[in-house]
C-alpha cells in the first residue's frame, strides 16, 4: 500500500477520534460544573490546559469562560485541534483516499463535517450537551461503518492504529482533567462531591455502566485503574494499546512478542509496562506524572510509525 495512502487513513481516523474526544473533554467539564454546589468558581482553565494549548488560548481569548472555551475547542476554525478543524482535516484526508475507503465512509465523514459546520457559531450553552452527544454518535457511526464496509486489510489496520493511539492518548487526558479539577480542593477528596465528580468522569468516557459491572464502589484508585489498565473496556489505555499492537503486527506480519521495526518495539514496550504495572505503583509515583509520561510515550510511538511506514526515503 502507498505510504501516503496509509498515512491518510491513519490520520483520517485519528482526527475523527480526536473530534469525538474533544467533545468528551468539554462534556465532562459541563457535567462536573452542573453537579458542583452553587457559588463554586467555574473551572475551564484545566480543560484547555490538558490540550496543551493554554498559552495560545490566553493569547486569543483571554479569560477561560465557558463560552470562550467552547468556541475555542469546538468551533475555532483557526485553531488546528478544534472539533471543526479536526473534521475538516479528516475530510481532506478521506477525500485523498476515496478510491481506497468505502463510499459509505466518505459519506459519513462528509456528513459529519457539515453537521458541525452547520452548528457553528456555537449553539447556546443549553443546547451544547445535545450537540456534543451528536458529535460522539457521529464518530461511532464512522467507526462502525468502517468496520462493516471496508475490508479488514492493511489500510483498515492503519486506520485502527490511528484511532486507538488517539483514543489512548485522550483517555489519559480525560483522567487528567479530573486531576486538575481536584488540585485546588484537596479537602473534597472522599466527599459526596468527589464521588459525583468521578461518576461524571466515567460517564464522559462512556464507562460508568461498565465500571459498575466490575467494581461496586467508586474510588479514585479503582476509576484510575479502570480507565488505564482494564483489559476489556474499549476506551481504557491498555485495551487501546493491545488492539493497536495487534493491528501493527497484522500490518508487518511479525508474530507478537517480537519486533522488527522501531514502531513495534516502542509500542510493545509501552503495552507490556502497562500490562505489568499495578495501580498502586501508578498512584505512588503520582497519577498526573504517569499520565503525562504515557502521553509523551504515545507521541513517540506515533513518530516511530511515521518513520517506519510513511516517511520512506529513496536510497
Amino acid at each position: 500500500m502507498l505510504s501516503r495512502v496509509a498515512d491518510s487513513i491513519y490520520w483520517l481516523n485519528r482526527y475523527v477520534e480526536r473530534a469525538e474526544n474533544i467533545a468528551r473533554f468539554i462534556d465532562v467539564n459541563l457535567n462536573l460544573l452542573l453537579d458542583s454546589p452553587p457559588g463554586t468558581q467555574q473551572q475551564w482553565n484545566p480543560v484547555v490546559l490538558t490540550t496543551g494549548d493554554l498559552a495560545l488560548f490566553k493569547e486569543r481569548y483571554g479569560e477561560a469562560t465557558a463560552e470562550n472555551v467552547v468556541q475555542f475547542l469546538a468551533f475555532d476554525a483557526e485553531y488546528s485541534n478544534s472539533i471543526i478543524s479536526c473534521l475538516k482535516a479528516a475530510r481532506e484526508n478521506a477525500r485523498s483516499v476515496r478510491e481506497i475507503i468505502s463510499s459509505e465512509m466518505w459519506e459519513q465523514v462528509n456528513t459529519f463535517y457539515h453537521q458541525v459546520k452547520d452548528a457553528s457559531p456555537a449553539p447556546q450553552l443549553a443546547g451544547l450537551s445535545e450537540f456534543f452527544s451528536e458529535v460522539k454518535m457521529s464518530s461511532h457511526l464512522f467507526a462502525g461503518i468502517m468496520d462493516a464496509t471496508m475490508s479488514h486489510n492493511e489500510g483498515w489496520h492503519f486506520g485502527q492504529l490511528g484511532r486507538l493511539i488517539e483514543r489512548a492518548d485522550k483517555t489519559a487526558r480525560i483522567l487528567d482533567v479530573k486531576y486538575f479539577i481536584l488540585l485546588p480542593s484537596v479537602q473534597d477528596i472522599g466527599t459526596t462531591l468527589d464521588e459525583l465528580q468521578w461518576i461524571a468522569l466515567l460517564k464522559s468516557a462512556s464507562g460508568y455502566e461498565m465500571y459498575r459491572k466490575c467494581q461496586h464502589r467508586i474510588t479514585p484508585q479503582e476509576v484510575a485503574h479502570f480507565l488505564l489498565l482494564d483489559r476489556e473496556f474499549p476506551r481504557s489505555v491498555l485495551f487501546c494499546l493491545l488492539q493497536a499492537e495487534w493491528s501493527l503486527h497484522e500490518i508487518s506480519g511479525t508474530s507478537t512478542g517480537r519486533w522488527t521495526n522501531p514502531a513495534e518495539r516502542t509500542l510493545g514496550r509501552l503495552r507490556s509496562e502497562l500490562e505489568f504495572i499495578t495501580i498502586e505503583e501508578v498512584i505512588q509515583g503520582g497519577l498526573h506524572e504517569f499520565l503525562d509520561q504515557t502521553q509523551s510515550r504515545l507521541n513517540s510511538v506515533s513518530e516511530k510509525i511515521f518513520e517506519t511506514f510513511f516517511a520512506l526515503e529513496a536510497v
Partner: protein, 494 residues
C-alpha cells in the same frame, strides 16, 4: 409533459425533425416522456442529480478553500444517435486517430512530413506543444495517443465537424459512465425496449490498453494513475478510474526514481511501477526536463521513460497535435500518411500565419470565432458576432502582434437537444466528445456515444462547465449495419 409545444426552431435538433415529429430512433423515448407529468419528470431529474452527488461525481471549485464540490448539472433527456450514423463517426474517428498517431511518430522521428513539404517546419518548431526532449523517442508499440477525447459538433445543416482533438489528458469519461448508471434507473423501461449500446466496458478496455504497454516479460505489471492531487478539478475522475481499474492512484510525491526504475513509496518499501496513466500535463511531469518549478511531477521520470523502463500514456509530446494550427493540417496528414480523404471534416480554419488568410480574418472579425492556437477550454477566444467593436479591435491588435498564435473559424450554429426547464422543454446547444483508446496492433476502440455537453443558459453556445454547461447521457441506438451498408453511408456523407 407533452412535446406538442416544443419548437426545434431553425436549428438541427437531435431528437425532432420538425415540431411534433420526433426522429425515428427517438420516437419511443419521446412517447415515454410524454406519458409522464411535469412533476414526475422533475422528481426524476432531482433523483438523478442526488444520485450523482452521492456517487461523488463532482468537480472541485478551485477558488473555494473549503473544497466545495459541485456536480456538473445533469439533464435527463438524453441525446440520441442512430447506429448507422454513429458507425460512420466511429470510422472517421479511427481514421483520424490512426493518422495523428503516425504524425506523432514521424514528427518526433524522421520528420518526413516536413521534408516532403506538407507541413512547414517553422509551424512545428513554433508550437508550444512540440517538446524537443521527445525527439527520437520510441514509445512501446509505437503508440503515442492511447486515450483521446475528440470534440465533435454538428452545424445547422446536420453536418458533423471535428472541433478539437485533445490528445493530452482529455477528461470527462467518468461522467459518461456515471450518467449512464443514473439514466438506467431513471428510464428503466426505455432501456428495456431500446437497443442502446452499453458504455460500461470502458474501464476494462482502458486497463487492457495500459497493461499492453508494460515492458515485455513481466508476469504482473503495476499500472498506476498519476494525478496532480485532490485539488485538481478532475480529481474525482482520476480517483474513479483508478478505483474502476483496481489500480493505485498516485501523486508525484509517491513516486521516485531509484535503481534506474520508477518506484512508488509503499508501507513495505519501494515498489516498481511499469505503466503510468498520467493526468498531468507534459510541462509538469519532470522538473529535470520540463518546468523546473513543478512540484507535481517526478524528477528523472523522462530518463526512465526514454530507457523503456516505464510506459506513459499518453506519451510525452502529444500536445503538439492539440495546437490549433497543426489541427488545420490534419486533412493533409490523412492524405499524406494514409492516401485517403478524411471522413470527418475539420471546421474550415483560417491560419492567421498566412498573410492573405490573416487579411480575410481581420476584415471579417465580426462573423468569425478566433482562437489562440495553444489554448483550450474556451480560453483566449473571441466570438466575433457576440463581441463589442472595442473587443474586436483589441483582439485584432493581438492577432497582428503574433499571427502564428491565432486561427479563425466561421461561427457554427451547434445542434440542439430538448432540455427540461421549470415548466417547459427548450432546445439547448450541444457538442459531443467520444473517447477513443488506441491499443496494440493498431486496434482502436471508440466508446459508443461519448460525453454530450450542453449549454444550459438559453441561447448560449458555450458548453464548458465553468460557464453554465451541463451534460446529458448519449445513446447510440439500433443495431450495427452490415459492412456494405456502412460503406454506402460513408460515401454518401463524404
Amino acid at each position: 409533459m407533452r412535446f406538442d409545444q416544443y419548437d426545434p426552431g431553425d436549428f438541427y435538433d437531435e431528437l425532432f425533425v420538425t415540431q411534433g415529429q420526433p426522429r425515428p430512433e427517438a420516437a419511443l423515448l419521446t412517447k415515454r416522456i410524454s406519458s409522464l407529468s411535469l412533476e414526475e419528470l422533475h422528481q426524476r431529474q432531482q433523483a438523478a442529480q442526488t444520485a450523482l452527488f452521492k456517487l461523488g461525481v463532482t468537480f472541485n471549485v478551485y477558488s473555494n478553500n473549503e473544497g466545495t464540490e459541485r456536480i456538473l448539472p445533469f439533464d435527463i433527456i438524453p441525446r440520441i444517435l442512430p447506429a448507422n450514423e454513429w458507425d460512420w463517426i466511429e470510422r472517421g474517428l479511427k481514421q483520424r486517430i490512426y493518422a495523428l498517431n503516425l504524425f506523432l511518430s514521424d514528427i518526433y522521428g524522421d520528420q518526413k512530413i516536413i521534408k516532403d513539404g506538407v507541413i512547414p517546419a517553422e509551424l512545428i518548431h513554433s508550437a508550444t506543444g512540440f517538446l524537443k526532449p521527445c525527439l527520437g523517442l520510441k514509445p512501446p508499440e509505437g503508440i503515442w495517443c492511447h486515450i483521446t477525447g475528440t470534440d465533435l459538433v454538428r452545424d445547422r445543416d446536420g453536418q458533423w465537424y471535428v472541433l478539437e482533438d485533445n490528445l493530452r489528458c482529455p477528461s470527462g469519461v467518468s461522467y459518461v459512465l456515471e450518467n449512464r448508471r443514473v439514466m438506467k434507473s431513471t428510464f428503466p423501461m426505455v432501456f428495456n425496449r431500446m437497443a442502446i449500446r452499453p458504455v460500461d466496458d470502458y474501464a476494462g478496455k482502458l486497463l487492457g490498453t495500459l497493461l499492453d504497454l508494460a515492458p515485455a516479460g513481466l508476469p504482473n505489471p503495476t499500472v498506476v494513475v498519476l494525478t496532480p492531487g485532490m485539488y485538481n478539478s478532475a480529481y474525482f475522475e482520476h480517483s474513479f478510474l483508478a478505483q474502476q481499474m483496481g489500480v493505485e492512484l498516485v501523486e508525484g510525491r509517491d513516486l521516485v526514481v531509484a535503481d534506474g526504475y520508477l518506484q512508488m513509496r509503499t508501507t513495505k518499501g519501494l515498489s516498481r511501477v511499469d505503466v503510468i496513466y498520467r493526468r498531468i500535463d507534459d510541462d509538469f511531469i519532470d522538473p529535470l526536463v520540463f518546468r523546473p518549478d513543478s512540484l507535481l511531477g517526478v524528477p528523472g521520470l523522462t530518463e526512465v521513460y526514454r530507457a523503456g523502463r516505464v510506459a506513459i500514456a499518453n506519451a510525452l509530446g502529444t500536445g503538439i497535435a492539440d495546437d490549433k494550427v497543426i489541427y488545420a493540417y490534419v486533412p493533409q496528414m490523412i492524405q499524406y500518411y494514409l492516401g485517403e480523404d478524411q471522413l470527418l471534416p475539420n471546421v474550415p480554419t483560417y491560419l492567421c500565419w498566412e498573410p492573405d488568410q490573416l487579411q480575410h480574418v481581420l476584415t471579417n472579425l465580426d462573423s468569425l470565432v478566433v482562437k489562440a492556437a495553444s489554448e483550450s477550454g474556451g480560453y483566449g477566444m473571441l466570438v466575433g458576432p457576440h463581441a463589442t467593436p472595442t473587443q474586436r479591435e483589441e483582439f485584432a491588435d493581438r492577432i497582428k502582434a503574433k499571427p502564428r498564435n491565432y486561427i479563425a473559424q466561421p461561427t457554427l450554429c451547434l445542434s440542439r437537444v430538448p432540455t427540461l426547464f421549470e415548466d417547459h422543454f427548450a432546445g439547448c446547444h450541444v457538442d459531443l466528445r467520444p473517447y477513443i483508446l488506441y491499443g496494440k496492433d493498431d486496434n482502436i476502440y471508440v466508446n459508443p456515444g461519448g460525453l454530450t455537453r450542453v449549454a444550459l443558459r438559453k441561447g448560449s453556445l458555450v458548453v464548458n462547465s465553468s460557464q453554465g454547461g451541463g451534460s446529458k447521457d448519449t445513446w447510440v441506438v439500433g443495431h450495427t449495419l452490415s459492412q456494405s451498408q456502412t460503406q454506402t453511408q460513408t460515401q454518401s456523407q463524404s
